[in-house]
Amino acid sequence: MAFEIIESCVNCWACEPLCPNKAIYEAKPHFLIDPDKCNECAGDFEESQCVSICPIEGAILNELGEPLNPPGSLTGIPPAKFAELVARQQAA
């Protein structure tokens, strides 16, 4: 039972001090979670702390590889609209 941080992480440090198990550490190119230490905050907090403060949708995944903050859930920006912008910026 452990979460995973993926490449969309912006290295903002918000999650690192909150982790009750010190499972999160600074790494290049982005922060990582030590799967041996992460227990998803079970027994410590009602909500997983990294997931609750992370501002980036899709940056933290559960064991099944599913985003814990799915697209649109934090910013309110409709996912389709965001995909359009990314495509436009990549084309430019």
Binding site: C12, A14, L18, F45, E46, S52, I56, G76, I77, A92
Partner: protein
């Protein structure tokens, strides 16, 4: 006839209030002396000081505990000039090294702020470690911090300890229903709280923090982002409330919103205010409050004079190569500051002498004439010294029968200077014409033949006759010419409205 130079007095506020006349330092002329002493060399608080003193931000605070709809947390952008973006993050030790290098290289640098790219108080260890080291190593630098206020009440003691005498709180609303339209979530007591409930907590913490700072004698400036249709009708009330609680300055800034920025507002087509809307709201608030009108909405890692960014000269690899002897630099800095203060002081006494003259001549006031907006191209120093075509911004002043007052600045280039991907195909002149909407005169040191016709056609008279003259003097002279020519009797030409 000489007219006084007015400060932050709303046109309908009954003219000059005591102590606010005769000074171009529009944010300060009316402040109590003990506050004026604290902020006179702070470039962000005075249109005049910002031509002489420089500031810098260090990006040590990337974490944030709230989300705002005008912010994209992917803050890493080298090309954009707006709050919340930076090129590289620093650890506190690196940040201190950078500050010492900048202060030794740019002796005019008086102020170090921590402003992000997240919330400084959501990164208390990095923020306060930076302040602690700087207070020890560079006691001649003023320290300030800006915050969304959520965790402010928890850090008041620490702020007071580090000799931070200015704190900026961004307060966009005092009503949770309005807040729910600005803040999608906050992180509070180990939970993410969405919507109105989160906004209500944030508002409560902001107000509590404001009161606690004021009780400690720490100066508080309030920033508000003006979001048309969301909080524009609400900000006059915000202004009244924060003033009644003791904030010394209110800075209403326009929303910066482009789809390319990837923010909720940008992507949902929420527009920023027009120059006229912003000015109107600032005028409405100024009846209650000292308003700030020259904020340049800096990046969270800006370096240099306001409106300029010399960050490229101080990248980490360049700083590592510099050999800084700060105690030596501090001596040189003290000399530079003394010379600037002397110059500012002499300018101040000249202005005061002028005001005395006005009050004697004021026995026979001229009949009331309509106010006129004028745009000024300047590189700084309080004089008209910039070519029309080189100006990246204009200072806007209002001349009226009661005097001259500074209204604000308007940029002529987009906030994003990233090149093709940021442009919208408008020519530079079209942009300038739009920027100058509402102005009847543009004063510059020189202007080419090409823009002359389109400016006149838009009802904006170009004028290069007052090059190198002090701004207020030139405005008063032009206003007098307009009076003599009978141009102040009628409303501005109809085409002006089209511009």
């Amino acid at each position: 006839m000489e007219l006084p130079v007015l400060n932050n007095v709303a046109p309908d506020a009954g003219g000059c209030s005591a102590g606010s006349c005769g000074s171009t330092d529009d944010q300060m002329g009316h402040l109590p002396e003990h506050i004026r002493q604290k902020v006179f060399n702070h470039p962000c608080y005075s249109e005049e000081a910002h031509h002489y003193f420089a500031r810098m931000h260090v990006a040590v605070a990337p974490a944030c505990n709230i989300q705002c709809h005008y912010c994209n947390r992917k803050y890493d952008c080298a090309n954009e000039s707006r709050p919340g973006v930076v090129s590289e993050l620093h650890h506190p030790v690196q940040a201190v090294k950078k500050v010492l290098a900048v202060a030794a290289t740019i002796p005019q640098m008086t102020v170090l702020g921590i402003a992000g790219p997240g919330d400084p108080l959501a990164n208390p260890e990095r923020t306060f470690e930076t302040f602690r080291m700087l207070a020890e190593q560079a006691p001649d630098i003023k320290l300030c911090v800006s915050t969304n206020g959520l965790s402010l009440p928890d850090h008041i003691d620490e702020l007071a300890k580090h000799n931070i005498d200015h704190v900026t709180i961004t307060i966009n609303c005092v009503d949770p229903d309005v807040g729910a339209l600005i803040y999608p979530w906050i992180f509070w007591k180990n939970k993410r709280i969405k919507g109105r409930e989160g906004a209500a907590i944030l508002i409560e913490q902001q107000q509590k923090g404001l009161e606690m700072l004021v009780a400690r004698g720490i100066l508080v400036k309030v920033n508000s982002v003006m979001i048309p249709g969301v909080n524009d009708q609400h900000l006059a009330e915000v202004s009244r409330i924060v003033k009644s609680k003791g904030a010394f300055l209110h800075n209403v800034m326009p929303l910066i919103s482009e789809a390319e920025h990837g923010t909720f507002y940008g992507m949902s087509g929420q527009r920023g205010p027009t120059n006229e809307e912003l000015q109107k709201l600032q005028d409405e608030c100024s009846g209650d409050m000292n308003m700030m009108r020259h904020c340049r909405q800096c990046r969270a890692d800006a370096v240099g004079l306001l409106g300029e960014d010399r960050g490229d000269e101080f990248t980490m690899d360049k700083i590592e190569a510099m050999d800084i002897n700060y105690p030596e630099a501090m001596k040189m800095r003290a000399e530079v500051h003394a010379a600037i203060n002397e110059e500012l002081e002499s300018k101040r006494s000249i202005r005061e002498a002028k005001v005395q003259l006005v009050s004697i001549e004021g026995i026979n006031p001229k009949p009331e004439t309509r106010p006129v907006l004028m745009a000024i191209a300047t590189k700084g120093g309080g004089v008209i010294n910039e070519h029309f075509g080189h100006a990246s911004e204009f200072l806007i002043y209002e001349a009226s029968s009661s005097g001259v007052r500074f209204i604000g600045h308007r940029k002529t280039v987009a906030y994003c200077e990233g090149g093709d991907t940021c442009g919208d195909g408008e020519s530079a002149l079209d942009k300038s014409l739009k920027t100058l909407a509402g102005c009847e005169v543009v004063l510059c040191s020189k202007i080419g033949f090409e823009p002359w016709g389109p400016l006149e056609a838009a009802g904006i008279q170009p004028n290069g006759e007052h090059a190198m003259e002090p701004i207020e003097d030139a405005i008063l002279a032009v206003y007098e010419e307009m009076r003599t020519a009978g141009k102040l009797d009628a409303r501005p030409a109809e085409q002006q409205k089209v511009a």
